[in-house]
Amino acid sequence: MNKYENPMSRQVFSLPELIKEQYADLEPKSRTVLSFQEIFNIQRIVLTGCGDSYAAAMATKHAFEMLTEIPTEVVSAIELSRFYSKKHMGVDCRNPLVIAVSNSGTVARVAESVERARKYGCYVLGVTGNLESPLAKHSDKVLKVDIPKFESAPGTRSYMVSTMALLLLAIRFGEVRGKYTMEQAMDYRYDIRKQGELLEALLPAMNEQSLELAEQWKDYPCYDFVGAGFDYAAAWFGQAKILEATGKFAMHINSEEWFHLNFFAREAGRMGTFLVANTTNPAMSRNKELVKYANELGRPLAIITNGSKADFDHEDGVYLQVPDPKYEINMVLTQYAPLCLIASYISIMIGEKYGRGCEGKWSFCEGGYCVKHSEIVID
């Protein structure tokens, strides 16, 4: 590998094998976690979580709607626990179905949100690795994830597993409700499994580019992450990794809002700008306009795409190629990989500890203390 190799970059390199392992584990579980009756009862879906799990919800919301035709919302845990209207809970015989994601299951706000959702009549499916956790205890059903232990680093493996679990649930719901044939459902699933091989093939070149980009961009004071639709989830996730791994300022915004806000930022030449833009994205035309104007501003620009420079009118930029799945819904399983590599390398190059090492002023977050220990309020 290279002298900047670190636990987070090793997490990225472990993804191809993890995708195979987790598919084998989650495919059968996703078939049985809800019965036909429970799946046919769903009128609306709410996806919730905090941090990376919230990003996983954003990454798969469109897949739920495309595959199941069931209206699906992404609601952050604090919105669901403190603000979501009671009038919209417990309707149509335990709707909406709330799917809450937390690998540890111990995040206070997620536990609070599902406790409230269940109190007011929602049906709760927890996606967690901890059956004894508050999330599991407040869920009607649990999809148990089992992520093999790995070196600690800003979550990369757990994010992939969360997105895969949600995608498999979406495929299952659509299959059972007769939105497509079982053969089509299996084709969606096989495409999930194949993403590991596709990523493995691209990783050497992706790693080289990521190292080079990290070297060039490591001293920038701020990074801007942009995307639309489920690409926005990868952009959101990218800014999260920069914050966690490097402690630097990072922003996230969708491709339209960028034109209303973020482009105003001064020092454009020192603002590393990441655009996540897959070629099938309905906002592709806006993304292409963004690339053009970002170049006019002199923004250092990296485009994360399954396509190439030709897809963006040969505009300047660093084009980081990510896997091109048969089905666009499966893009979310791997498209964040270069962002994690870059964040991890910048962290090492500037000598920054992940999560500031939970030391000094940051010691209160040791072991996730501040997200696990918070007053629970159920109205």
């Binding site: 078939r31 799946i39 059972v176 044939t181 079982m182 053969e183």
Partner: protein, 138 residues
Amino acid sequence: MAVLEKFKIVTTYNEVYDITKMVKETVAKSGVKEGICIVHNMHSTAGLAVFSPWDPDGFADLDDEIRRLVPTRIDFKHQHDTPQDAAGHIKSALLGVTLNFIVHEGALLIGGSQGLYFLEFDGPRNREFYVKVIADER
């Protein structure tokens, strides 16, 4: 003497697929004058039936009545696949996956109002069935 032939077909949702010609031609090509013909499908959500071809509405009746006998419900105990698949297994078991015919004077011995049909209880699917023609012992 015996001949085995495999056919591949692409079905649509709950299709009643006419295989009469395929089976008749297999018998004719086999050269068997007197014997038996077995038609068999290897699927668990499809069946085989002899049915009158003359009124197209009859196929709709067949489909309706099979569905009436085994409605696609969500309370099947078999939940691994889909409700339609679970119902399809029952329909396949009730109607059977094999048909037997007599071969006489080099032809399939069926009446003028008898057609042979592959009954799809799922679909669209890629399906296959076999036709075996066996000559009588001399």
